[in-house]
Symmetry: C3
Subunit: 402 residues, 3 copies
């Protein structure tokens, strides 16, 4: 019975996918707002289908052998394991390029390394979010390099490049968040008119990337939602995603606003996403100082940034603040780990009681990421994704062999 | 012919397993002496069956995809590779959580991390043996966390937690040692009445965990053996395993004694296990000082502990000492690496000539660990272990495909 | 059509392999010049067959489960990924022994560790090229240790040891280079009479291993080629490979010369391989000082070596230098990463324009390595390599399952 329901639902997802022409085969997935609506829709459909098949005990393995390479230029728990889980469920063995034990520092160029790790690779996942203006450029360079080597016949296949967070976007996070909202509201069509508050929040740390808020506004604005972006004066985001959000809101019949009050953004919100980030000008300065190796000035910058942050400690998602939301019961979202007041820090982004109430929800939210990444791999590596999914749904291959 | 013998023996093991009701499915394996006799017996039966099938060239793969996560908070060669080998033989890809490159230090709680690495995981193996009173607690917390997430539907499956050594027990070691004795004596029933000397031995290092001697006395006492625990005054073990050993000895018709002379323990011994450990009070003090970051006092403690150790250099397993054992030919056991006099140190736990005579035996002893760990995974992840084994034994799936 | 051509070609390779008796089963692959011609030929045939099957979309997986262990005592990108790719294509999960997190430093002997990581392992790949006189010895010791444990029944199978670069040879590199030349010239028989210039080149770094030039002259001299080894006075290689090259040249009807001018070596060359290495006497001194922990003298040695190097900056593969080669169009080879003037350093081994013209060729060259390593594993782990290949060629097992 449960299996029949899974099969019916998966067949519906496949049918919808057949109506969603994509151009992702032999390509990469880097920035959501530069991708057409069909690509976003396809990722959502495939991610859900894979998740349902997995829950039903079916193997979704698509490769007998092959590698998935990860490059993490910043710390990661969730995304690292999500990438590995995604590769594993599809049958790829993962390997992480550790730049400290490789010869990358030894005069090797990016384009050279890209090919050297790709001879039998199907996907390269990259996190590079530390320096404004660099992460996306690096990922694009890797993608161009494997494309060149593939076209020249050096590589037998063209590995996808998947953005596991850059300076601009965090697409696997934003799409996992979106999958969570779709599940929560029972369908993407039910997001229409829902108000989401993507707000800055206080944190005792400094230098957090801008990619999460940029990813959220650049994605959620495509579904007729009422997107409110809130931050203290000076904590502006990069122009491109803000302009994309404005355009998408108009096109989708939704709304997009920028305000400078957490309470105002929370007002009537169905969903809140309070999350710290660094002011863009701080990130720019930091990038410049780091490049120049100017340690003393970096320390000064950090102190100044922390002092500036500290002026906005009232940007905390407290029980009081939550009362502004629809019926006081907005869904709290976070990419984790959150800075929780009295738990992980003295004063942070969210109060302990609010976080605890939504804790398991944030785990559910995170649980979509492996399937979003797997969907990106499937869509970039298989020419007929609907046919591939149909094969997975109908073949007799359980995840457990006994 | 050889294959028929393997099949017959494996069928006997499966038949015995069917008579051994266990309650391990969807659980964990943390401390042997807190587990009923049936659980211990089941691990021994499954480990032997897996080893025999492997030696006969059969694949014992049970998962088409899935992850095994390891967390090592202390150095490891044997146990790390045993865990990886166990996962690999069952079809799981392994990943090690490296806390330095994850966001674990970044305000993340244990229970959060536990779920974040578990979305597609079947087992989490943990070594955490540095601080008295902490390792077992940490493992239990991870187990509770994945249990909570599984019950809430956040996780599609409930990963087992397997204790790869904590402050209290080292169950995969002790059970591998037991498998070695069973093989050596031709059956668990032949252990009855055998005398085993679990003794302290001198080492020029300090701070070695207590979990091996505790694991040995807490396990070997369950089989009617004559267990002699020997150590210099002051090198006491934790109460719980000592009390368990005393109780088990009574219940199983064996003996348990604590003496303060290596020669006395060796007297008439069939098996000797000379191995250094730190006095409990040193470990407690060390934990306290480490927590307080009191470096100067730590150095003092180390010097005092080494000086105390040095008073007991006569606790060495020499040829002379071996003469006290039954016919001078007791089986020498060690968890490795041993501190071998004139090989790995100037003065150590065992003389070079004794060690060399038993060197390949200690390798055999170590060789049981992958199968013990695999048995724990099988028993915790499969509801009908005997049926699962029967499937492995009868299906036509070789380890090599050509 | 393409598939039929692949099948025909692979059948020819298998037929040739059947005429090539080898003695590699249950052995290791350490030094090319100590192996008979049949072993070299077999590696070339198997590597090409595996590459063709892979390009044709066939899975070459031979193991259902099993481990491949790597030990890197020096940095690596290409070889590390090649080893992992080789293991993955054959169905082995790879694990890297990280000596800093293992107990190797903790009194563990090489022979003990070798067995501890081998209980379910099929291959151990080792890079140990830092100290002259040590790497090969270490690899041989590991091989002897697993042999002893296999013979004693401690190990159920005898893992191969594969030399991923030692102080003497870099066989997976040299054989990948040879596969590249065979592809480039359309057959090993077409190498006869071709002139190859293996020359020293200037680099602003110091302490590069001698194993690549030694591997090249010790291998290329076996196929009737005209091998010219060129280096500034004082940059001598180890005797053994030089003597082997001289002997092989005579036996194969080729030539071998040592000259002290890059231009002279390049004269009429079909292939050039300009690559920096350290003078042998510097490597010997360095090994001695490193062992003695003599930091100040090490710094002096480095400065002296760099100053000596700097006297030979004219040993650069420039456009001008290339004009000496046959029609000015010799094939440029390099093991990568190259020290490229104005790209990875101010003055280096090769000018930017020469390198750029051959850049994709050097990637192709590198792309052979995974298949060379896989061939070594297949030949050492399977008793009937031709039969094994025939099975791979005829079974219906695609690399992608959908």
């Amino acid at each position: 019975m449960a299996e029949t329901m899974t099969q019916d639902k998966v067949q519906q997802l496949i049918a919808a996918l057949e109506q969603t022409p994509t151009n992702l085969h032999n390509g990469s997935f880097l920035i959501t707002w530069r991708n057409p609506a069909e690509h976003i829709r396809a990722v959502l459909l495939v991610a859900e289908a894979l998740q349902r098949l997995n829950r039903a005990g079916k193997s979704v393995r698509l490769f007998d052998t092959g590698l998935g390479i990860s490059i993490f230029r910043d710390k990661s728990t969730r995304t690292r394991y999500s990438f590995r889980s995604a590769c594993n469920m599809l049958g790829l063995m993962t390997e992480e390029l550790d730049e400290s034990t490789s010869q990358v520092s030894h005069g090797e160029t990016v384009r050279e390394t890209a090919s050297m790790i790709s001879f039998l690779s199907e996907v390269i996942g990259i996190r590079d979010d530390m320096f404004l203006g660099e992460g996306n450029r690096y990922q694009a360079e890797v993608a161009e390099s494997v494309q060149e080597s593939f076209e020249a016949g050096v590589l037998a296949q063209r590995p996808s490049v998947v953005n596991l967070q850059c300076d601009l976007d965090h697409p696997t996070q934003a799409l996992a968040d979106l999958r969570h909202l779709i599940d929560h509201y029972g369908g993407v069509e039910n997001l229409r008119g829902k108000r989401i508050a993507m707000t800055w929040a206080y944190s005792p740390s400094y230098g957090k990337p801008l990619s999460v808020p940029q990813g959220i506004i650049g994605l959620m604005s495509r579904f007729g939602m009422d997107v409110s972006l809130a931050y203290p004066e000076g904590y502006d985001l990069v122009d491109e995603p803000v302009e994309a959000a404005r355009r998408f809101a108009t096109e989708s019949g939704g709304k997009f606003e920028v305000v400078h009050s957490m309470a105002e953004a929370f007002k009537g919100a169905d969903i809140v996403y309070p999350k710290s980030w660094a002011p863009m000008h701080v990130m720019q300065k930091r990038t410049e100082l780091l490049r120049g190796g100017r340690a003393a000035e970096l320390k000064e910058l950090e102190l100044a940034a922390l002092a500036e942050n500290a002026r906005h400690k009232d940007w905390e998602c407290t029980e009081e603040m939550m009362k502004h939301t629809r019926d006081g019961k907005a869904l709290y979202c976070h990419c984790l780990p959150a800075d929780i007041t009295d738990v992980s820090c003295k004063e942070g982004e969210v109060s302990a009681s609010v976080f605890e109430r939504y804790r398991l929800d944030t785990y559910r939210e995170a649980g979509h990421k492996p399937f979003v990444i797997a969907a990106m791999i499937l869509l970039t590596r298989f020419a007929d994704p609907a046919g591939t999914l149909r094969h997975l749904a109908t073949r007799d291959m359980p995840r457990r062999l006994a």
